[in-house]
Amino acid sequence: MRTVLEVKDLRVYYKSIWGNYKSVDGVSFKVYENEVFSIAGESGCGKSTLVDGILRLIKPPGYIPSGEIIFEGVNLLKLPEEQLREIRFKKLAYIPQGAMNSLNPVIRIEEQMIDAILDHGDIDKDEARDLALCMLKEVGLPVEVAKMYPHELSGGMKQRVIIATAIALKPKLVIADEPTTALDVIVQKGILQLLKRLKEEYNMTVIVVSHDMAAHAQIADRIAIMYAGKIVEIGSIYDIFEDPLHPYTKGLISAVPSIGKEYVKGIPGLAPSPLNWPSGCRFHPRCNYAMDICSKIEPDLKEVKPGRWVACHLYGDRQ
């Protein structure tokens, strides 16, 4: 399997008068071609910052002290701005959180799509228009939508416009941050299925970032669990749900209510602050299985089985 994206030890810190907010503190993972790779975690774990970091959208007071982001063999962090622009949108598309609400309310849909396409593609205006209309059809929107304004569309329709725009130039990798939050359940299903279908049709790779474990269960191939700025577990979606290894993952899985499930259990305690991560393993204050070593030494993310990575002392030296 080819690796499309490899992130090595990425850190994103924010400077403040009280110290450094270490929002992303040493994250490494690989994303393979044509898969749906999910990044899951609760609020404050750093997943949105991670995506901003990968796309080099971090602005001061945020900065990237270390790490490598290898996309198609090129380290994105070392690229100058113009070359980055070439890659953005054409090869690497981004659907930010709440994108559907940031459509320009005074410009017609068609124009906005064409603007975006022209900005990054080397085609002329007529071709861009044809492409835009074609993409609208791809996502199941009637052609009348092109001449409408954003406020005339529902949330789900706006999100589909965003998706249509994002994949117009057939990028290799699409990163979607909370693509279905704030959408109704039936529309949510439609959007997630759409993403999966488009991925197959255009041979793209999709990274989905969300706190909704059920959504991940429905479309992901592999999933990474984030906690306190680090990845604590990576594995196939089946493995993670059926046999979670990390205690946080276990807690997360059992906390999701589902039809037919008798019993849900939360995780006691509070999420820690990026200003002051706990010593050793960051989850140890809330962990039922915490041992002595957990508060002292931070466990590394290790491949304990092929394709299964865990950062936990419970799986320390077992092979």
């Binding site: 924010y14 400077k15 403040s16 008068i17 009280w18 907010y21 007071p61």
Partner: protein
């Protein structure tokens, strides 16, 4: 941080403590200048008494006319034979008093109108809002000046009232939109289902959160008042029963004192006015800095 500020403002002690530990340099400087001006203007009776004995500074012909500055008359005398330092300080005091009185009255009217309109909603809101908008649109300065011509007694109270009547609309509009948005908050609903009455909700739930806007509105109202009062004074439509900086300027404009080079009379009111406006605007911007943290220069979050 802004929330913490609001908590400090709940007690009088808190207010004083906050003022003196305010982080905004602009606010501190502005308040410093203003307080100094207020202080020296209110100390006028003492200053006059010490230097010149028990005289009525308004009395004309006590001294020789248009004397140059000297030890006895640091700012010389004016064309009516009065000690100009005393007259100037009285004028300064009156300008400030009218400014603050007019400003306070106008913000009070604004608070009553906007809270009532926004909280009651419905017909009351439509009527009061149209009323407010009308006042915003009419050229208040022109009308104020015209009214001033026909008002028989233009003393400090009447001028302040007149100014307040024309100055409240801007703040009212601002406050109304704040109250409109705040009354939809869930904590207002929670207060309702806890049995709180409308009055309690307005004063205990809404008012504290509107306070920053009220304070800024008040600062603006004071600036507007002083501007109004001074400008009608300068063009000669001003008060007849008291001296103010605007009126002093009117005198030396009409008496040709500039051409004759009586800088001891020309400079003090002009400098004082500039200082007042600079101070008030610094306060305004400083308040904005405190209440709107995005304007603050931050190195971190």
């Amino acid at each position: 941080m802004y929330m913490r500020l609001q908590h400090k403002l709940t007690s009088l002690k808190g207010i004083f403590r906050t003022i003196f530990t305010i982080k905004s340099l602009k606010l501190r400087v502005g308040m410093g200048i203003l307080l100094t001006l207020i202080a020296i203007s209110f100390l006028e009776p003492i200053i006059t008494h010490c230097r010149l004995g028990n005289i009525n500074p308004y009395e004309m012909g006590l001294f020789e006319k248009l004397l140059p500055p000297s030890l006895k008359h640091p700012l010389g005398t004016d064309h009516y034979g009065r000690d100009f330092l005393s007259i100037f300080l009285i004028g300064l005091k009156n300008s400030l008093v009218v400014g603050f009185l007019g400003g306070s009255l106008s913000i009070l009217i604004a608070i009553v109108v906007s809270f009532f309109a926004a909280y009651k909603g419905g017909l009351a809101d439509i009527i009061l809002n149209s009323f407010t908008n009308t006042f915003l649109v009419i050229p208040s300065w022109v009308i104020l000046a015209s009214v001033a011509v026909y008002t028989p007694k233009l003393n400090i109270i009447t001028v302040s009232l007149l100014i307040a009547v024309f100055n409240w609309a801007g703040a009212a509009r601002n406050l109304r939109s704040q109250v409109l948005s705040l009354k939809e908050r869930a904590y207002v609903d929670l207060a309702k289902v806890s049995g709180a009455s409308d009055i309690e909700i307005i004063f205990k739930e809404l008012m504290p959160n509107v306070l920053p806007y009220i304070i800024v509105g008040a600062a603006n109202a004071v600036i507007g008042s002083i501007f109004f009062e001074t400008s009608i004074g300068i063009i000669g439509l001003g008060a007849t029963q008291y001296v103010s900086l605007g009126i002093i300027i009117y005198w030396f404009l009409t008496m040709g004192l500039i051409v004759q080079g009586y800088y001891n009379i020309i400079l003090p009111p002009v400098i004082a006015l500039v200082l007042i406006f600079v101070a008030l605007n610094l306060i305004n911007v400083g308040l904005d800095e405190i209440f709107n943290p995005r304007l603050k220069k931050i190195t971190g979050l």
